[in-house]
């Protein structure tokens, strides 16, 4: 898979990385999942919850909507290790700079595991996968979001950088304002 480092989008996923870097004691957070219906299968070793219809996930780090979501329920209060969201997947999240980011795909797969001292946590978007923010739009198949280091990798990626006229205007105005202040008599 062709490796693609997309700096602009690194910030998208840095919420988690930033949180990992803080020395403040971490507090538990609440995740809410709403849907039309749900099936809990407790019979198999891999116990699952399948949410169906108008699925909405509201988490402090993101909001996700889709039509179908399957989560493997963890054993003994552990971490959820595998989630599959399908059909009209939309993920919105805000990065550490307060920038809104928007991802869409037909399918999103979340995987979490710890091997030794290494935590692996990824979200793989497939099927018309696209992520975008104010700076750029990234498409690829698949797009893999590494939540541990905040990197995005994509195969067959296509990036469109937005022309940020607002920033340029702001800088010009700021400079002008500053100049006026300096020259203005008190």
């Amino acid at each position: 898979m062709k490796f693609f480092c997309f700096i602009v989008f690194f910030a998208l996923a840095n919420v988690w990385a930033l949180r990992a870097q803080t020395n403040a004691p971490a507090e538990p957070h609440l995740t809410q999942i709403d849907s039309d219906s749900v099936d809990f299968d407790m019979n198999t070793n891999a116990r699952t919850a399948t949410y169906i219809g108008h699925v909405r996930v509201d988490d402090p780090q993101m909001k996700l909507t889709c039509a179908w979501l399957l989560a493997n329920l963890p054993q003994d209060g552990g971490h959820i290790s595998h989630i599959v969201a399908e059909t009209n997947v939309v993920i919105d999240f805000t990065d550490d700079k307060g920038q809104t980011n928007h991802a869409t795909s037909d399918k999103a797969v979340y995987n979490y595991n710890v091997q030794g001292a290494v935590t692996n946590e990824t979200v793989t978007l497939t099927g018309n996968a696209k992520t975008e923010n104010a700076q750029a739009i990234l498409t690829g198949e698949p797009i893999i979001w590494n939540r541990v280091n905040g990197s995005l990798t994509a195969t067959n990626e296509h990036t469109i950088f937005r022309q940020n006229l607002d920033s340029a205007t702001t800088k010009t105005n700021s400079t002008t304002t500053s100049t006026n202040k300096l020259s203005a008599p008190k």
């Binding site: 988690w16 949180r19 990992a20 870097q21 020395n23 004691p25 971490a26 507090e27 538990p28 957070h29 609440l30 995740t31 809410q32 999942i33 709403d34 849907s35 039309d36 219906s37 749900v38 099936d39 809990f40 299968d41 407790m42 019979n43 116990r47 919850a49 949410y51 329920l73 963890p74 003994d76 209060g77 971490h79 959820i80 001292a117 935590t119 541990v148």
Partner: protein, 153 residues
Amino acid sequence: MKIKGAQKILIAGAVLFFTAVPNERAQQNGVQHASDFTSVEYFEPPHATQMKSRLSGLEAQPLANGLLVIKQLKLETFTVDGKPEMVVEAPSCTYDTSKAMASSPGPLQVWTGDGKFHVEGEGFLWRQTNSFLTISNNVHSVIENAPENKIEP
């Protein structure tokens, strides 16, 4: 998040009615009417003094064809070391003793004993034989995620 105990929820409810100690009784097809009842089930030895589940309800009314209507169902399950595992509440449900299924068009609430998972909704079906619970409308789940600690030393 512990959902494992849910395997026993509604099922245990109906099963335990057969051994409940009701305040009033009415015999019908081997199933007794009970009101304001509580029934306790214990673990097998060597943990026979530990409570496995506690079922309470306002009323249990046997119907024809092996059906049992339970009002104000509350089922609590416990681990072998006495910790609360699961709490289930339903204002009303019907248990089919022949098919081992419990269902209701009304609301259902389930909590794990550690309080880290809660789900509620309206309309449910519990199939005992394959430990399958369906909540069919207006599902709302709340999961308390433990803080993640990715700080490398």
